[in-house]
Symmetry: C2
Subunit: 308 residues, 2 copies
């Protein structure tokens, strides 16, 4: 029997990875909000650098209570925002055998889910992908497209390995790792500078940041602070991570960060997950993060001003 | 014989103070750029909290070379911007007896003028005023309206005292001070946080800043850094200056900073005069200014993005 997957949060990330799992032979349903009507009618049309495809979900729902099955995998791909209460959204679809898989940005995103569903397996996953919804149901996958996943708090899981194998079957590189938190911090070292700076510098792409010395220098300072906070948590990032990030980003074609796209579309920004949590931990651990503090204060205000 | 005044830079500040000097009985001409046609034809129409008035300049010119007289006072009220070469603009009107009076924002604004015209008296002046040009020739004076002035590098001057007396004659409070640089730094402690934050936080007025804890806290950090830089220059600001600034600003009606007005009108921002020079001195004196650095990098980028 086909394994059942329910994807909660069917924007770019959810539609893309959900669609790939459907191609791998799984039974994939989705929970939609603003794009419900369109997706219910015609499914997703996905333009992808890894090959265009259509994705017609097995079921399209507005809430977890409507989902009629017991999901083997409940994959959460919502943004990490104070207004989005993941526990509340997913609780009606979390059954005894359901594995919860969070494919989300930021750090410290797992605790509430782990606490609410202590008897369910919980997997934390990071997406390395440039993908967004152009309009309802139309997805544009423009860059990368990999995953890393790990059992929350470490260890292994056969069920997770099966999911990972299904991704790899359809050429989505998915790596199971022992210590997913480490990789969350690694990703954060990129996200925390480049996302906010792209917005706060007036709406600039990565090329402008890389070519503007003052902005790239600011990114370096922000990265140093993120590394210092990671260290205070016992996470030792590679010595060359900052230099690698600079070189990697300089090599991009002009790229708008996901936060800049959210800003331009007047959507809420992942301020807390990408900046706020780092500042919170820094304060707790007495690590000085003046550049981050400045960015956090400004970005929080910009986020509010942009939406209201 | 009437004393002759030439005002260079006839935006809000120049029109207002020039107009008041004309009321005091001086012969006031102006140098205009974008508003030349309108001012030549109809002069200035000034709506002011201290009483509305019209100001028909004695002469309206496009360049200092056109000015036919020997000015007793050449008053510079241009913005302080890298593109504006004050020495070049004023040189044709600087005659042996001309006193040069700079009514401008920022710090370190006098050196080039002093160097170019070593034989002329140089006065440095600070305006405490909320005034801007609504449209060509239409000025709106909405708040305050005082001046402090002092001989550059200290000392006194009868000629400056006469100018000051003329201002006071028409109810423009103008105080001659011994150490104008001290007051430049005092003003900077307000300007350097509130102006940039009003722009970078997404375009917010002083009320929003005062009521948003994270933004007000950021202003405090920026003020502390400005005070530390001032101290490295031997300028000791009062201990309670930060607290006073907070209280003073909380008492404002919602007020858009001049930098925010410039930003909204896509005009160049006084980034260098208000932030860059402080950072430059901090680097020179090895004072840590991480919050200022962050603001400086972002604001420089925003300024460019906003205009091109």
């Amino acid at each position: 029997m086909k394994k059942k997957v329910l994807v909660v949060g069917a924007g770019g990330v959810g539609a893309y990875f959900g669609g790939r799992l459907a191609q791998s032979g799984m039974d994939v349903s989705v929970l939609c909000r603003s794009n419900y009507e369109q997706v219910k009618k015609e499914g997703f049309n996905i333009k992808s650098i890894a090959g265009d495809f259509s994705f017609k979900p097995a079921g399209v729902y507005r809430s977890c209570a409507e989902y009629p099955d017991d999901a083997d995998y409940l994959i959460v791909t919502t943004k990490v925002l104070p207004d989005i209460d993941v526990v509340k959204i997913i609780k009606d679809a979390v059954k005894p055998g359901t594995m919860i898989v969070l494919i989300q940005n930021g750090i410290e995103i797992e605790q509430e889910v782990a606490k609410a569903f202590p008897d369910n397996e919980l997997v934390s996953s990071i997406a390395y992908i440039g993908v967004f919804q152009l309009e309802d149901g139309k997805i544009f996958h423009q860059a990368a497209g990999r995953l890393k996943m790990g059992v929350y708090k470490g260890g292994s899981s056969e069920k997770m390995d099966l999911l990972s194998a299904n991704f790899n079957k359809v050429n989505v590189e998915c790596e199971a790792v022992e210590d997913i938190e480490f990789f969350r911090w690694v990703k954060l070292v990129w996200n925390t500078p480049y996302n906010p700076v792209s917005v706060l510098a007036g709406g600039v792409d990565t090329k402008v940041i890389s070519e503007t010395k003052a902005l790239e220098d600011l990114c370096v300072e922000l990265m140093k602070e993120v590394c210092a906070v990671a260290k205070s948590r016992g996470i030792h990032l590679p010595d060359d991570i900052i230099q690698k990030n600079l070189e990697y980003t300089r090599g991009f074609p002009p790229y708008k960060t996901s936060m800049l796209l959210d800003f331009e579309n007047k959507r809420p920004l992942e301020v807390k997950a990408i900046v706020g949590e780092v500042v919170r931990i820094a304060n707790e651990k007495k690590v000085a993060v003046p550049h981050l503090e400045t960015v956090y204060a400004l970005l929080s205000a910009v986020d509010i001003k942009n939406r209201y």
